[in-house]
Amino acid sequence: MNWTRRHVLDTDDWSRDEIDTVLDQTRAMTEILQRPIRRAPPLRGRTVILFFAEASTRTRVSFELAAKALSADVTNITASGSSVEKGESLYDTVRTLQALGGDVVVMRHASSGAPYFVAERTDAAVINAGDGWHAHPTQGLLDAYTLRDALGDLDGKRVVIVGDVLHSRVARSDINTLIPLGARVTLSGPPTLIPTAWRGGQLPPGVTYESDLDKALEGAHAVIALRLQRERQESGLLPSLREYSRVWGLTADRVARMRPAAPVMHPGPMNEGVEIDAAVAHGSQSLIEKQVTNGVAVRMALLYLLAGAPTPSGVPAPAVRLEATA
């Protein structure tokens, strides 16, 4: 298929074809990362701006490595120490990004929807690297890639997602990517951390909720444990971390309820001993490090596809822009 999307803001309206295209291109990118010289030239002369207005190390570094592996120039704008901290509005930051002439803006923001705001106001292609509770599309895609790589076809496979689904952009993006690929998703976690409508049975197609984690894991093909934000306990949604760990933590015994060798994943960073035991996180079924490696390849695939996509004017973006900066 011909790639036509300008931005990667959310995967909720992606077709199976589009997801497959990204995953297939990811496979080709994986090979580049195994070469003696881990670099190819397609984004030479292009600038990728990493705009992270919310703390992140692994996602930012992953995008940076991905952009560099494709020979792009990379510039960082972080929240702390930048004009954002000095009170600049998102609108003014966007104007600055526009004036800098980046070809791709990768952004993370604490407010859901912020990447849409930026995408509407700049010529650059925008990739959402996580916005509020809303979406984290590249995480969803890399999880789908990692699972497809481990299980082969995802058709009919059942994946358990356990933890704080309510506040998790990862859970939403995982669902948006896994369901079109034919997988089924079983959510599990404390009822207080599941969206009310979902808890009440109004779930998206292919998704179920099972409050009993042991039952949810029975015969499952894979499990993804979500990170538990410690502040959830402070806000009264959890009795205690120990209680959470006892009821919802991934232990070796629980993992054994799944099919033999079923993969265990986690988006990181992990609270070992809370949502996942160290023995499971570093055990033979863990694909957690694989997720990190695959993350770079998925982001390479997206950067490549977006850089080649037609601009609104119908012609590809010039490699070098000579715009006057106001």
């Binding site: 190819a40 030239p41 397609p42 596809l305 080649g308 590809p316």
Partner: protein, 175 residues
């Protein structure tokens, strides 16, 4: 232009020429350029095995990311996986493609190949040389030289990809 028998003979002859040129088969490797050069490379490798009883390392390379027109074409062409399951350092690598035309694909393939290491030499084998070079590149082994007009379309069909072996030249009729 070329029928199945011609293609078969060309592959066999190229395989002989490669061995005659670089007699030390232990240094040799064959790398095909996707999507049809890799099929031809596999045939050449099989012919060398049949003639010499030696299994020469075989690889496939995709040159999409090395194209010089990526910023012009307005879409992202599909990248296929490269497979070079051996070290190219110190080897004589024979690049294989179906058609040699402007030479730009070969330039890209050479750039891609040297990202894997430093070959002792790179040689080029093509099924058809149709002329109209835009870069200073020539083939070491040629199946058939085919004079064409720049606007002609040279179509190579191979059983592995297209279900039959045939090369045809389609001349554009001026509208």
């Amino acid at each position: 232009m070329l029928v199945a028998d011609d293609v078969r003979r060309a592959v066999t002859r190229i395989a002989h020429e490669i061995v005659e040129r670089d007699r030390d088969l232990s240094l040799l490797a064959i790398v095909g350029i996707r999507a049809r050069g890799d099929a031809l490379a596999a045939r050449i490798q099989a012919a060398i095995r049949a003639n010499e009883g030696v299994d020469v390392p075989l690889g496939a390379i995709d040159i999409t990311l090395y194209r010089d027109d990526l910023t012009r074409i307005g879409y992202a062409p599909v990248v296929r996986e490269s497979e070079i399951p051996f070290s190219v350092d110190g080897r004589v690598v024979v690049l294989v493609d179906d058609v040699l035309f402007t030479g730009r694909t070969i330039r890209a393939a050479m750039d891609a190949l040297v990202d894997y290491g430093r070959p002792r030499a790179i040689r080029l084998a093509v099924l058809v040389d149709r002329g109209h070079r835009e870069l200073p590149i020539r083939a070491d082994f040629v199946g058939k030289n085919v004079p064409t007009a720049a606007s002609d379309d040279v179509r190579v069909h191979l059983t592995e990809v297209d279900g039959r072996d045939e090369v045809e030249v389609v001349t554009k009729v001026p509208a």
